[in-house]
Symmetry: C2
Subunit: 458 residues, 2 copies
């Protein structure tokens, strides 16, 4: 795919230079909106407005939605009011809102000014909802039916109004107060008899979300029940919008990326990596690096307190990295498993003891395996092969025992931290993963020196 | 939701005991298949067959699909052949395949024996495709139209055959050799004139995948182009199946979980956490812990080589954890960002130099910030507040300089490893994240001791 883009790029730039606009239009017409958007990113900004104007109206709007905020802004600034109106008219309301949210306020004013009054009202309505809520990602364009309609009426209505709806495949039935009383699919309607009454066909056990529900919850509902779209209702159960599966796909991908970033001590960002400036990347990464660096004072302090002992038993120092890393890895295995299970809804706080007990048993198995393997590894590799005779048998015991104890502590702490964070309403991914290393480091060093003091008499 | 399940559970168990089957049927009837499946997991296994038999046929089949493999097996073993046939008849082919893949071979034989001959053929067909390929997750039940049909014909055909199709919302047009020549949505058909010809309405630039494409690619295509379903073709471009958005949702969630697990040095598993046995968890976690533990021999060896120097400058030891952790965190920020960007398709190997140059500049910014802050942190916290006077100004310089150099190396290595792994056809998440710590540890220690030797003359 990308090899194709690379040559296409140069072809297009050559055609622009040669003013072969008819050929360009033909080429662009064969591409999908998402592909044109990617192509536009790679092309020189100066030729974008020209190329964009070559697109037929509908393709132009669909492409516009797929483009990055920077390119969108560039184009809008170059649009005449008439051109802007043409694009805005073709957008679904939820896409228009996504764009409006990314733009500086003077651009927003222009977009709203060019929207039809009813669209402007819908955009303003959606903009009121908190970020990442169901209200903020929903669309207000859906098929609304009435209970008394026949299937024939319903199909006529869909035929008449469907062109502007984001999906016509799930239809919603409301009462005179716009309360949601039922839903049914186009499949139900089409496969039923023409005279059947909508009220008899509709499903009344409706799965819905409310405007303030988090987008992650909405995506999980769509995915759990394999829905095409989910209705969004207000506090009085009035139908105000729907969220479709394509938005859920984006949310699931976005939330997974966010979790991954947080686990790696990065402040999440909506922007794709290549679009982030050096300064933005620095801002996303430096806070946790600083916090974790300063919190390492603690481990440093523990080592300093045992300086005299370490000076006498220098062999002990060589195992500090191994102990810290294995502890860290063991802990993050547990914490990452729990964080992910929490976020996809596999476990909840009520499973606390089940999880801790499970991790404790796994930890014992891992600890024994690692301890035993490490004992032979030290005796064979470090002592016999590398000739490090300072590592006596008692020192080996101290290391292996510490290793086993550290693994157990790390796994138990690793699974508890995210669960507790979740219970306290904190973000499990942030609170657990980056902080865990520091906690486990300190634990492993404390165990190490306590055990060394006891066994080696230092 | 879960609080509700908890009480519902006890109610149901009480009703079973009291033999109130009519009431039970009413209750189950109000629930969604996915919720019944969750409920069944929490209930005692002995009452499952009874409860399952209370479900109406369609709900029973839908619930069966949502259940875990253990419960499915339990039920199948208790089914009479007639009961098994009833459930199998209601399943979509792709769901049947999913179930068959999880079952022991004697159960598979019984399922196939009870399937209608055409269904059995389809199941066998799909089972031939490699795991995680488009062929293995597709369904063979789709709406197929011919070019010459009118919209009226098409709707009639959909009405007649639609009930068995997984989706009727995207229709595929094939030529007499079953080659895919076009596709269009039900919306296109319904909103067009009744006499319009399908061949004129259909889209001929078709986005399709082939049977051997990876499921992650299929999900990305569905998500990128916001498709309801994507057609799967064989090497001769004959239409053999479709993959619908609900499967893509599952794949995206599954692949994200897999990436996260690999980054945390865990062998990925399809099973939800709470269903994995202690031994399975141990098996998923111990290999990387062992590999990483043994590879830490390397860092231990570096420290041992500088034992004499460390014995003289014991203050240096206290900073080893901070240097290794900050290096590790910096590196994993870069590697995780690159791994995730690779997997969602934001970057590719051709961006190698762009990425490395970007990371290099971010690294310099981070290195300078961390170095400067650390200098003041050591002078103020460690020396003045904690009174650790062994940390002289030259030692502080050595630590801060090493820190900066480590951060730069860590970020550059961190972004290069996954890209190289990807190019070599290895899994970036496995090759990059768990291994990175060991590499960065060794780098930071080598820099540390070299710098110390040069500056402190040891």
């Amino acid at each position: 795919m990308n090899e194709k883009n690379a040559t296409l790029e140069t072809t297009i730039e050559a055609l622009v230079e040669g003013k072969k606009y008819a050929v360009l239009r033909e080429i662009l017409n064969t591409l999908q909106p998402a592909d044109i958007a990617i192509l536009f990113e790679d092309l020189d900004n100066s030729i974008l407005p020209l190329l964009f104007r070559l697109l037929p109206k509908e393709l132009a709007a669909a492409t516009f939605v797929e483009m990055g905020a920077d390119e969108q802004e560039l184009l809008i600034k170059g649009f005449s009011d008439a051109e802007l109106k043409e694009v805005v008219d073709e957008l679904y309301v939820d896409d228009a809102v996504d764009i409006v949210e990314e733009m500086p306020s003077n651009v927003v004013k222009r977009i709203l000014a060019q929207s039809a009054p009813d669209v402007r009202k819908m955009i303003n309505e959606i903009l009121k909802y908190p970020e990442d809520s169901a209200g903020s990602i929903m669309t207000t364009e859906f098929v609304e039916l009435k209970e008394h309609m026949t299937c024939e009426d319903a199909i006529k209505r869909i035929r008449r109004t469907g062109v502007d709806k984001e999906t016509i495949y799930t239809c919603y039935v409301t009462d005179p107060n716009r309360k949601l009383i039922g839903c049914l699919t186009l499949k139900d309607i089409l496969l039923a008899d023409e005279d059947s009454i909508i009220g008899d066909l509709m499903e009344t056990d409706i799965i819905s979300v409310t405007t303030t529900d988090d987008q992650e919850k909405v995506a999980n509902v769509l995915s759990k029940y394999d829905l095409n779209a989910v209705p969004v209702v207000d506090t009085e159960h009035r139908l105000v919008g729907i969220v479709t599966f394509d938005d859920a796909l984006d949310v699931i991908e976005e939330e997974a990326t966010e979790d991954i970033e947080k686990m790696a001590a990065i402040t999440p960002s909506d922007k794709p990596y290549l679009r982030m400036s050096i300064l933005e990347l620095w801002k996303a990464r430096i806070p946790w690096l600083l916090i974790l660096m300063v919190s390492a004072t603690f481990t440093g302090y523990i080592i300093s307190s045992f300086e005299t002992a370490l000076a006498r038993w220098v062999a002990l120092t060589a195992f500090i990295p191994m102990l810290m890393d294995t502890g860290g890895n063991s802990g993050s295995q547990a914490s990452v498993t729990v964080i992910r299970s929490l976020s996809i809804g596999d476990i909840e706080f009520k499973d606390f003891f089940k999880v801790v007990f499970k991790e404790f048993r796994v930890a014992i198995l891992c600890a024994v395996t690692l301890g035993v393997v490490n004992f032979f590894k030290i005796r064979i590799i470090d002592v016999m092969l590398l000739g490090n005779t300072a590592v006596t048998v008692p020192v080996t015991f101290v290391v292996c025992f510490t290793l086993a104890a550290t693994v157990i502590c790390a796994k138990v702490v690793g699974c508890m931290l995210p669960l507790v964070a979740n219970k306290l309403g904190l973000d499990p991914a942030v609170m657990a993963s980056p902080l865990l290393t520091t906690v486990v480091d300190a634990i492993s060093l404390l165990i190490y020196f306590q055990v060394a003091t006891a066994f080696l008499g230092i």
